[in-house]
Symmetry: C2
Subunit: 590 residues, 2 copies
Amino acid sequence: MNKVVLAQINTIAGNISYNEEKIINCIIQAKKQNADLIIFPELALMGYPFGDIFMRHKSIITRQLKSLEKIAALTNDITALIGFAEPTKNTNKKPFYNSVAVIQNGKIINTVRKRLLPNYCEFNDYRYFEPSDKMSEIFEINGEKYGVLVCEDSFNDKSFFKDECIYSIDPVAEIMEQKPDTLINCSCSPTRCGKEYIKNALFSSIASKYNVNYIYVNQAGYADNLCFDGLSRIYDKNGNLTLRGKIFEEDFITTDNLKGNINPIPIGMKEKIDFDNFKLDYKNDLDRTYKSIVFAIKEYFRKNGFKKAVLGLSGGLDSSICAVLLTDALGKENVWGISMPSRITSAESKNDAKSLAANLGINFFEIPLAEALDPLKSMLGFAFQNVKSEKFDKSTTIENLQARLRATILWSVSNEYKQMLPVATSDKSEAYIGYATVNGDMSGGFAPIADVTKTKLFALGEFLNQNRKIKNVIPQAILEKPPGAELKINPLTGKTVCAEEENMPYEFLDEIIWYIETQGFGFDDLLNHKFYYELEHNISIEQKKEWINKFFWKSKCAVYKWHIMPPSVVTDVHSINSVEYRQPIISGVY
Amino acid sequence: MNKVVLAQINTIAGNISYNEEKIINCIIQAKKQNADLIIFPELALMGYPFGDIFMRHKSIITRQLKSLEKIAALTNDITALIGFAEPTKNTNKKPFYNSVAVIQNGKIINTVRKRLLPNYCEFNDYRYFEPSDKMSEIFEINGEKYGVLVCEDSFNDKSFFKDECIYSIDPVAEIMEQKPDTLINCSCSPTRCGKEYIKNALFSSIASKYNVNYIYVNQAGYADNLCFDGLSRIYDKNGNLTLRGKIFEEDFITTDNLKGNINPIPIGMKEKIDFDNFKLDYKNDLDRTYKSIVFAIKEYFRKNGFKKAVLGLSGGLDSSICAVLLTDALGKENVWGISMPSRITSAESKNDAKSLAANLGINFFEIPLAEALDPLKSMLGFAFQNVKSEKFDKSTTIENLQARLRATILWSVSNEYKQMLPVATSDKSEAYIGYATVNGDMSGGFAPIADVTKTKLFALGEFLNQNRKIKNVIPQAILEKPPGAELKINPLTGKTVCAEEENMPYEFLDEIIWYIETQGFGFDDLLNHKFYYELEHNISIEQKKEWINKFFWKSKCAVYKWHIMPPSVVTDVHSINSVEYRQPIISGVY
């Protein structure tokens, strides 16, 4: 058998010299180990996703081709598969093919062009690529035959996807007519809730169906809201998994019998998620969610030249979870938690924030808001004395003022320290209904939990307390109290207003989001569906209707905020992140 | 000859009932006038651009088809051409064809499907549409023959575009084989600097080349950063313009001899712009720029349910131009200008802001910053006493604090009034190099001049002073002083630091931007190009290199800000607005 290397690298889109160096180093290392074949991910040389950059930086196209020649010249005594953006050289087509160069003896002996181009959600292949209309030829090394597929080419198996096939051809079936011994899939495949189960089942079923070895090489990395999990792997001809690379980091995997170490994956990640039924039990996706966000933070900071993060610690759930994630990504010495209590912040919240910081060992200080908030309030009160509505002091103005003053302080802190970014702590449930303040809690250089719903965050908090090396860093009180921004007092109770009083129960809200994202439910579908929430709570149909109505109305007003969210990481099954879902601000639906 | 109606309507994407009502009203009116044919724009019934909304709101697809049936049933005694998103009903294809229904005698007798699908800049047709692979048949009314094209189908004439043709087929040449008397082009075409010249020359040349009448119907409207100018029109068989609709508003144009009123267009709009050579003379594009932004503001506010705007008036160029544009879009009674001087704001700036507001007749008040800034500074100074860098009070922290406090005040004002939006006043030159403050001057619900460079704004200021009904509303001092945010004092001069000291001359900066956007110049191209700026200024090659380097370095750091800019309007020849140019935040080039 041939000795094969799966080069699970982490590239930067458009940075040809950076990617070239990584590729060359891997080839040199593979040659030292006398490997026969080295496989890189889809678009390894150009990097992915590269967006429109080639339109303004035309030189990267020629630089990439020169680099490919240079790499080819180095590639003797080994076969290398290198993904690159191949210019179509034809004005009648899209600019590129999404290709894999097959390099042997210093020459490109074949280019395999992607046939199936995805255009849904985060994928936009047709903007840049021309689909190939013919199947590539297989190649040989020492009598072993290999067929190459590019990512989506492997995702249209009719016996697996049945009615859900979205393309007319199946490149796997076509290439199998040439009877390769091994199929190779070069990919750039982002992680999502529930996706690993499908990938594993699909690849395994293809291997056993065709009695073929199946090698999958995926990039590890993060770029522009997408997290690529790596997890390159091999299946034998019976569909058994025989090797698996690391998750969320680069890997250089050598095998001379298509077997090897099967690296562990996060708890529950390979389980099937039941998208048809909402439940508050997120247990099969918590560990993956946690690790993907930590990796995204690490990569976003590193690739943009930042080392430190600062966030406001309110003693609430969102900021507490963010603090844990940042600590695990950047190290406790690189995280600053600032408590910024106002006059209505409870002593409990202040203490919870302080305890969390102490438990994590992060930098911590307190800046009470009153000193600046009071003069600002009186200044504005004076300016607003002629405003007819006389809302001031009873209105959201004061609530928002607190949130915005806090963000202003965080940006100021980040200005004072080198390589520091302020972090936005708002979550997905609140983003959906616009319950996050522009220039306030949704402001920052990165938004770690913008794609995690509130009920999932509660579950994640419990999970982190039980499963991190240091247990119970999040004070139990934070996981038990009802969420609320502590921005105003309810005059009837004398207590701060909790978020659910203003909106609806988070359990109900998150269930709406779940069905919209997994089932595409509209208003009527939601109203007619028996909610999981209804099993434990007796609510009238009027109440249900009111909440669903409120959800759509608030979402409509929130769409603008979705467009100005800081960079984040898509991690849920679907998202409102504009890299995934393109909702116009002005539209008749929302 | 047949009586024809050009129905230049303004739709809302995804709002089927809104669009349906408009279409039906037009048909009823056309029938009253005994018209034979009524023509609507591309995608009139679905609205454009509709983004991904159909993926979550599947019901709008069936609602649209039902609506089309309803409209068809009403369409007796007249022929109607109605653009709609036609489901492909085939899982192997993109979801829709971009079609025009030809309705006669209550029935859809044909659907014309778009053949050429643009995918560059703001266009993303391939994400949603399947191209048609065959030419549609022409249709007849009273013996006159009509051929229908959908927008881009008319943009690949080989004798006109020569080497710049980007498609292999020319639908115009193909449909002309059926010998229609008249070509009809249903479009959704956004306005841009220099685009009208090309459209006019192209349509005219097609009409004369084929000896055919040419009718163009475009939508008027604004959505998601794009401004559609309308200007529907007719050319006779000699290529002469014989009729033209209104610009930047709806129009209902009836003609029984393919002739009619030729509505005026903005000064210089039909002239050819010389993209090869940068000049500071923007005169052929100022009126169009002004009118397109005013229209965009009007539409953005109306379609999102806002009526009033508030902005900070610094006495500088950006905020002054924004104030004029807002006044002309919303009415002086709906604009609030707030002066928020700090201790270092000059008396001149304060007076200029006040004079501008008085000249415009807008609401005006002053909120001095010091009262809130001083406690905030001392509070932060105390918090930062342990920061080793000891930058505080000498750093950008204080500068940014002023900008952010101002934005906080504007958002507070907008909270107090009903239906009010705060407006971001940052310009394109500053956005390119990140010289705009997050949560500061780049924060707001809309950013009117985010696609206008600084030197063009100076020219626009002069233009407005000379050409608006009320002359010289912008105090001359504002158009003459060097731009600067008045955020810090230069210790050597004792004066506030102007922006060019910190960056580079705006004339040079804007010339870089021009060549990047019009010619795709990279670093070397820029260095080797003789700048217009160099004709009048003697600069060393080292100086030139330093500025170009600085530009690229600052742009690299600014990309994040491009992604969180408020909604705006693309109006220049190209833009960094993400609807037009998709630059990944993490990439090797910038």
